[in-house]
Symmetry: C2
Subunit: 468 residues, 2 copies
């Protein structure tokens, strides 16, 4: 009898790999070791449960261990933490997090889906009661319970990225007084400053105190409440609840200890088949670096979308398939009160920092336009801001950003698709996109931006040869 397929981690990536393995080889034995109590939940939905938009955390659970076992035949073992991989011996070792019992398990092929964890800043007080990170469903449940038990009135959110701004909105929905503190000069550093600024202003409009360029130095307990100390003279903020949303880091220690190659940001290196440097070990999800389609090198951008796809492809290849993962763009969309922000590819700032576009980024072009998202006369048309970043030498689109109160959703994915196809701004300007007054101007705002961008191409490339 051959050894089973083993998967470390029951998150979206791990369960996608397991499900794909069972679809391809229904009789295969597939064991998933998950150190926590939950598998396969919607981490991205947690701010909306905490903020009361979604009534129950049960709605966030995509698959329970019971259903995975009974309906899909996947041997899910929760409370099982793998602590060591022996690649030579094709065996994993671990202990039960509930009973402390040791276990070992031989494998034919292994997948690592250990995900990422919240990166806490090394400051005093970050582990005090009332101070939380939000990463796992258990984290979310702790915050939810704390709010229910303590009815906090004042909150500080440290970190103005995706989770930070979503938690700001959630806590504001609960009528808390909310401060958002960001170390960098702008919130939402995945966007260029001029795109993030109107959203920051909107957050202020919603009654949130936004402080950028402010470093948190410590969190202190003061009687019944907390005090967040910063590097500013007027920068101490009293709070009943503190959310630390200062980023994440890959859980790659297990892979590193097994001698597997790491990549950027300490994430696990994989090839397009999601295979690590060991031919019998695959990895997927927030613990791996993916090939970036614009940077043309590995990048670590942990997102649910690539975790799901990467897991499925790991499973396919473990089962002897040949699917490959072409790469990522870091496409993302986020709701910030009445605004939607979306991004794909690289920002102008990233392009200028890169060494790929001339000295000091001299070949980086950018076009920013504002236009109604629908026919200008349509009731409820909203101003949409579109930014395209492109290579002025060949017109190739490097990134796109959208900000607005309507029309952002899914438009970013037109740009993502165009970038994947290595289209130029000229190509985008000539795409046959749909139009009707309730939905779009005759020229989609993306195309208006592309047409503006076209004027900034270097002369040799301003005209483009016919495709037929």
């Amino acid at each position: 009898m051959t050894a089973p397929f083993v998967i470390i981690g029951g998150d979206a990536a791990g369960m996608s790999a397991a499900a794909k393995l069972k679809r391809e080889q229904p009789d295969a034995e597939v064991i998933v070791f998950e150190r926590g109590p939950h598998i396969s939940y919607s981490a991205c939905g947690m701010p909306y449960w905490i903020g009361g938009v979604i009534p129950s955390d049960r709605q966030l659970v995509i698959l329970t261990p019971e259903v995975a076992r009974k309906r899909r035949g996947i041997d899910v073992r929760i409370f099982h933490e793998v602590t060591r991989i022996d690649p030579a011996g094709h065996t994993v070792y671990g202990r039960r997090t509930d009973t402390g019992e040791q276990f070992s398990q031989p494998y034919a092929k292994l997948a690592i889906a250990t995900g990422a964890r919240a990166a806490k800043p090394p400051i005093r007080g970050v582990d005090l009661p009332g101070v939380f990170t939000l990463r796992s469903l258990s984290d979310g449940q702790r915050i939810h319970a704390y709010i229910a038990d303590h009815a906090p009135k004042r909150a500080v959110v440290i970190g103005g990225g995706y989770i930070g701004v979503e938690m700001v909105e959630a806590l504001r929905n609960l009528s808390m007084e909310v401060h958002l503190v960001e170390l960098l000069p702008q919130i939402m550093p995945n966007f260029d400053p001029e795109m993030a600024e109107p959203v920051a202003a909107h957050i202020v409009e919603k009654g949130v105190a936004v402080r950028t360029g402010l470093k948190v130095e410590a969190i202190e307990q003061t009687g019944d409440s907390l005090r967040v100390l910063t590097n500013a003279a007027d920068g101490s903020i009293d709070a009943d609840l503190v959310i630390v949303a200062t980023g994440v880091q890959p859980n790659a220690e297990l892979a590193a200890a097994a001698g597997l190659q790491l990549s950027v940001a300490g994430a696990i290196q994989v090839d397009a088949a999601m295979r690590t440097s060991d031919p019998d070990i695959y990895a997927a999800g927030d613990c791996v670096a993916h090939y970036h389609l614009v940077l043309e090198e590995p990048a670590w951008i942990p997102l649910a979308t690539s975790a799901n796809k990467g897991g499925r492809i790991a499973g396919d290849n473990m089962a002897g398939g040949q699917e490959t993962f072409p790469g990522i763009l870091g496409s993302a969309v986020v709701k910030v009160f009445d605004y939607t922000m979306a991004t794909t590819g690289i920002t102008e700032s990233e392009a200028r920092r890169s060494n790929r576009f001339g000295r000091d980024g001299e070949f980086v072009g950018s076009a920013v336009i504002e236009n109604p998202d629908k026919a200008g006369y349509w009731p409820g048309a909203e101003t949409l801001t579109v930014k395209l970043v492109f290579d002025r030498r060949n017109g190739r689109v490097l990134g796109g950003q959208l900000v607005g109160k309507a029309g952002v959703n899914k438009r970013i994915d037109i740009i993502a698709t165009a970038i994947t196809a290595r289209m130029t701004v000229t190509d985008i300007g000539l795409l046959d996109l749909s139009y009707a007054p309730p939905y779009s101007p005759t020229y989609d705002p993306i195309q208006i931006a592309a047409n503006v961008a076209q004027r900034d191409l270097l002369p040799a490339q301003a005209a483009q040869p016919a495709k037929h």
Copy 2:
């Protein structure tokens, strides 16, 4: 002194050509002959003005002759109908529609933007008072005035395409009793039957009598009202207002009389530079056939989007530029009460009728899925139906259709972009599209359809080589 650039027709295509000419050659003389009183208006907005969504028809006017003259330096001459082109003599001849005066004008290069006109069925009574087609702004104004003057209570709309369904909604908004009569077995023949059917049911829910497979044989005046006679025993319908929306035909007679090559459907033939068979005559807009990116042959699909782009490219080339028009997909979106329908590329029916995909279309694949448009738990998530049509031999996407109450808008354009890039269903399944619970499931519904489609590929093509 050289002869000026001359453009026949002041619609979106003609004015796009004129504007591009003036941008490229600000000192050039550009004359636009328009036989009617209006230039450059939003024809697609007319049903919404008639239906009361948009308060004034002035909002539909994009550019007036005065503004075109004063601000853009375009010599717009309204009420000027060109009646003959002399290609050898580089001259156009015509008469004023207001005064009857004759005129002639030499040209250096000419653009024909004569558009299309409503195709009236050859039936008795189609010109009776109270019977209207809707194509020009003047048509719209006549209908609007007729409704204001006669307060019709019962309307029949003949033809269930884009204009037909939009007018059904407009007249229903005005509380009329509305019948929709369609000759074909289904409404919205640009969609496959199973996609159109739920929308037809929705129109019925909104209180409209929908009759398909019904041929209108005549319209009669009966006292104060009209009677629409059909081929059905129970098929005579009394009405106070009849809208004939049975399609359009290209205004290509002028071009044909000048000896220019015509293409499919009697539309004017142009190359990728929008040049006709005469090297000094260009054409653009609803009067021309465009290269179809999926059919890989000319097709006549008159839409505002390609009229604008084609006009701009004609202007660029007239000015000595080198831009080319890659082709069309017939991408379109339409609001039908609470539903949105969108399509791009070809339908399954069209693919099966074509001779490009094996005998009886044996290599035509299709995948239809239903999925929430947002995270399933998000309040207000709506069911979205996605259909992908593809070539089972190579996975190439041939078309897409979307129907739903939310999430349709702009998703179709992801498919349009993918088709333009000649992507396969596998490519679509692996696109890095954005995700957040308020906007999308983790796998976009388009990708869910693509993943279903992938299982139907013929074996040799089921796996796809890596791109990097």
